[in-house]
């Protein structure tokens, strides 16, 4: 239990050190867009997709002006939801299934 709490604190420290939350981005906004991620993005419900586009636009604007958000608007570690993860997992599972079938 103590080990779990420690791991959590390390995670939180790394999240803040990475710094993308200062641009108002969530972790899933920063994923490299390979084919799996592209397919998962196609499957996002509209409201999640629009929120993602807004965050990325805002971050691009800030980076162009070499600014960051004020501290109270930074994304907190606890509020960061991996919204793309279920869709991404499903896409990868389907790809594995296809490959397993084609190999047989």
């Amino acid at each position: 239990a103590g080990g779990g709490r420690l791991l959590d604190r390390i995670r939180k420290w790394y999240y803040n050190a990475a710094g993308f939350n200062k641009l108002g981005l969530m972790r899933d906004d920063t994923l490299h867009e390979d084919d799996d991620v592209k397919e998962a993005l196609k499957r996002l419900p509209e409201h999640l997709y629009n929120a993602r586009v807004f965050r990325i636009k805002r971050a691009l604007d800030l980076s162009l002006k070499h600014q960051i958000l004020p501290k109270d608007q930074w994304v907190k570690y606890e509020e960061d939801h991996p919204y793309l993860e279920p869709y991404l997992k499903e896409v990868i599972r389907e790809r594995h299934e296809r490959e397993a079938w084609n190999r047989k």
Binding site: K42, R43, P45, E94, E97, R98
Partner: protein
Amino acid sequence: KRFYSLKVAPKVSSSATAEKVKLSPESQNLEITKLPNGLVIASLENFSPASRIGVFIKAGSRYETTSNLGTTHLLRLASNLTTKGASSFRITRGIEAVGGSLSVHATREKMSYSVECLRDYVDTVMEYLLNVTTAPEFRPWEVADLQPQLKVDKAIAFQNPQVGVLENLHAAAYKNALANPMYCPDYRIGKITSEQLHHFVQNNFTSSRMALVGIGIKHSTLKQVAEQFLNIRSGAGAPGAKAVYRGGEIRKQTADSLVHAAVVAEGAATGGREADAFTVLQYVLGAGPLVKRGSKVTSKLTQGVAKATGKPFDVSAFNVNYSDSGLFGIYTISQAPDAGEVIKAALNQVKAVAQGGVTDADVTVAKNQLKANYLMSVETSKGLLNEIGSEALVSGTHTSPSAAAQKIDSVATADVVNAAKKFVSGKKSMAATGDLGNTPFLDEL
């Protein structure tokens, strides 16, 4: 299991009195059970190496409302989408791998999902069939990708002018339910949502409205499967509206030089003596060609119309029965300038029958044609499955072919004349497509 067909094959012996094993699908081999939750299970063990299993559901286009038109069309196309137990990819590849096939057939009143495969692989395809009928997921992106397919399906279907005429005929004849088109209306393509599909399935695919039918499979296997897996949704689901006949007309002016026209009145619902009388009347008047590429000279309608015009035409009696209504009338295809004469001549022929102008010999000929047609249609396993399934769904029973033949024989000439009288006196509906300059309106007929 594959060797069933060899085990029961009659021993070939040169003796003239060799015992022949009866393999014809008589009722004694067909078992039918009704579960307490309303599901009907029917199976026929005919020892064939290929099995065919179908799930029949009382869920056709009549159960749509004006807010979700086109749902059944998309549902027809959605049979291979991902389900809770198998992804779309796996369903397609899985069925292909065992050499089976999954198909969906829908009418205004029912939908039937059927799989056929070699006997040994029945378990595999059964799993996919149950998944598709009881646990589809209708993932929003898969449904969205499927919507353009509606357009393609419609375009292929409407290449046949008859399809358009029949859709219009039903829309003209009924106020609701049966008036719903079987093909998705254009304004709904792209707008059918996953929630609407789910809603439709939840409300209509319930146990008491389903029948599980199998040919070439043991009854106990089917029963076990049904009890374990088809218990998901019980209850009667949403009741459909009762079809109300109104009698109207819809005309579609196109550049086509051939005019397709259908003039009908309300006919009989399925089952019952009236339905049989109408079917015999249909064959008395002439229903479909009997000789391939022949000219239907024996059909009464053809003879009547041939006196009215020398140009090419086609006319046949149209008869369709639904659970609470039916349509009976004539369907004509004629050159645009002749359309009026052709339709009037055809209607006069029916009037002649209504006034008693039909002999017992005519009726016997018609009965024989009808019996032959029916018996030939249940000879294929596909036709037989359809027949058993439809009957099991509507009444939970099965009429053997010999009993059906007897029912046809019991129709008297007087019944046929009465049926014709009902048509002549009934409120008519009409649908016509083509260059309608010379096509009369309903009130001019």
